[in-house]
Amino acid sequence: MSEKVLMKGNEALAEAAIQAGCKHFFGYPITPQTEVAAYMAKQMPKRDGTFLQAESEVAAINMVYGAAGAGARVMTSSSSPGISLKQEGISYIAGADLPCVIVNIVRGGPGLGGIQPAQSDYFQATKGGGHGDYHLVVFAPSSVQELVNLTKEAFDVADIYRMPVMIMGDGMLGQMMEPVEFGAYTPREIPEKTWATTGTEMKRKHNVVNSLYITASDLEELILERQKRYDVIEEKEARFEAYKTEDAEIIVTAYGITARIAQTAVNKAREQGIKVGMIRPITLWPFPKKAFAELDTNKVKNVLCVEMSMGQMVEDVRLSLDCKIPVDFFGRTGGVVPTPDEVLTKIKALYEGR
């Protein structure tokens, strides 16, 4: 399957998951990710898998817990209000060191919010969301092709590090039709799941999937152990794309669909002779700190962070830069998508004032 096909983001994501060996999908309907579930409902029975519409997102994520603990590749998908409901289960999944993939096709919030694209769940995805000391690996694709590749990789990363991986998209990426190639991803090496509850067959000691450690020092030890794994991930898995940064005096940074808009603005600015480039984080956790920390402070005068939120990733950008370069923010929120011209105006103002 290496020729290109034209596909909607949500459906391409679902297909990529099935191709990655996802055999079980548990979900609850919510706009704007319904096509993921619809595709799974159609395909899973034909491809030796299960699709189950749960009674709630709470139930769905706990079905994911059970299936992941039983050793299967499993996924759930939802949008912001549903992801809030899943937080209990996500925390337990992290606490029990279970691999799974969780998709959040983000919409405007808080509360019921709206159904238009947003990026206002960044804090929730990268700073915890549920209770306790834990992280998710968070992928933020910006095209349908990248969505496909990262979905496949998400299952590998989840299995390698025994942890939940989140794919953060938005309604625009989910609905967008783009040509994609499914053969483009090379699978990574996956350890055997010797810890899974598959039945002892009276041949081994029982396996227990659990997040309860009643002795404080035991729990601390386990968390420190997990932290070491997080350190490896920060070292090895942080990813970003740099665009026209070599001579740039202004750096725009944005992720997901917003990066596509920002890139258009960067190109327009370049046509007007403005030395501007872009850093696009691909992993939101681990955050690609080095991409910012290693910017040449003599050359780069300003960093402009563009988001579909009131400014969430901008905090990580500032932390990575450690006050060495001033950081500005431009955002639209509530489901309003920024236009390239709005971003361009902001770039021009910074360039003139540098």
């Binding site: 817990y65 059970g66 299936a67 509850t197 227990v208 659990n210």
Partner: protein
């Protein structure tokens, strides 16, 4: 010499943390005996609740998962969908199954999820120190009903077997107790049937065991058994509420 009484193989050889006179210990043993007798320990995956039985994952020799409070039927569903030919059971208290996890219970039952549910109804929250449960009796004094459970304030207890027996997905809904040797034998027979149903792919089977919590009832083990007989059994009549042949 013939050994006539021994620890079931499926029960881990450790001392359990349950209080004297607590029903959990008895029912654990019955479940383990059934796993032995049906010879299914090696293909069984159990799901422990949040409640006094939270450490059940340390007590059964089969593979175990520990679920979030009330979510055991959803976790069991996930396991069963991955391993349809393995045996999956949950073990849950009344707060777990009939308060915070009501939705998960009802929908697993409605789907006819082919799992076995062991439900311990002790009319109170044991683990957290004796608060009102959905199954607490009218007038029952608990830490959170210091003036007794009233119609006006907390409403009425939930009758789980009666409620679930209305659902088509339920194969077995049976209520038993543990106040005598005979009752314990009946409980074991019901548990065995609930597992056999799963092996026979009949659907959702639940055994509700009317049980004791001497510690939080503020009673001795003997008084607790008497309280169960005099107060709980009239409200929770024993019997088979659904048996799909």
């Amino acid at each position: 010499m013939e050994q006539v009484f021994k620890r079931p193989h499926a029960l881990v050889d450790v001392s359990e943390h349950y209080c004297p006179g607590c029903g959990h210990g008895i029912v654990h043993r019955l479940v383990a005996e059934v796993l032995d007798e049906l010879d299914i320990e090696g293909k069984t995956i159990g799901v422990a609740p949040v409640g006094c039985a939270v450490f059940a994952y340390n007590y059964f020799e089969c593979d175990m998962q520990e679920a979030a409070h009330g979510r055991a039927p959803a976790v069991a569903t996930g396991i069963k969908r991955v391993h349809p030919d393995k045996v999956v059971f949950t073990y849950q208290g009344d707060g777990d199954l009939a308060a915070i996890g009501t939705a998960e219970t009802v929908h697993a039952a409605a789907r006819g999820e082919n799992i076995t549910v062991i439900f311990i109804n002790n009319a109170i929250y044991g683990m957290t120190g004796g608060q009102m449960a959905p199954t607490s009796l009218m007038g029952q004094v608990t830490q959170t009903t210091p003036y007794g459970r009233t119609e006006q304030n907390q409403g009425f207890p939930i009758h789980v077997c009666e409620m679930l027996s209305t659902l088509d997905g339920v194969a077995l809904a049976q209520r038993t107790t543990i106040n005598s040797v005979k009752a314990i034998k009946e409980t074991k027979a019901a548990i065995k049937k609930a597992f056999q149903n799963q092996i026979d792919k009949k659907g959702f089977s639940i055994v509700e065991v009317v049980s004791t919590c001497p510690t939080n009832w503020g009673k001795t083990p003997v008084e607790a058994m008497k309280w169960l007989e005099e107060n709980m059994l009239p409200v929770y009549p024993l019997g088979v509420y659904k048996d799909k042949e």
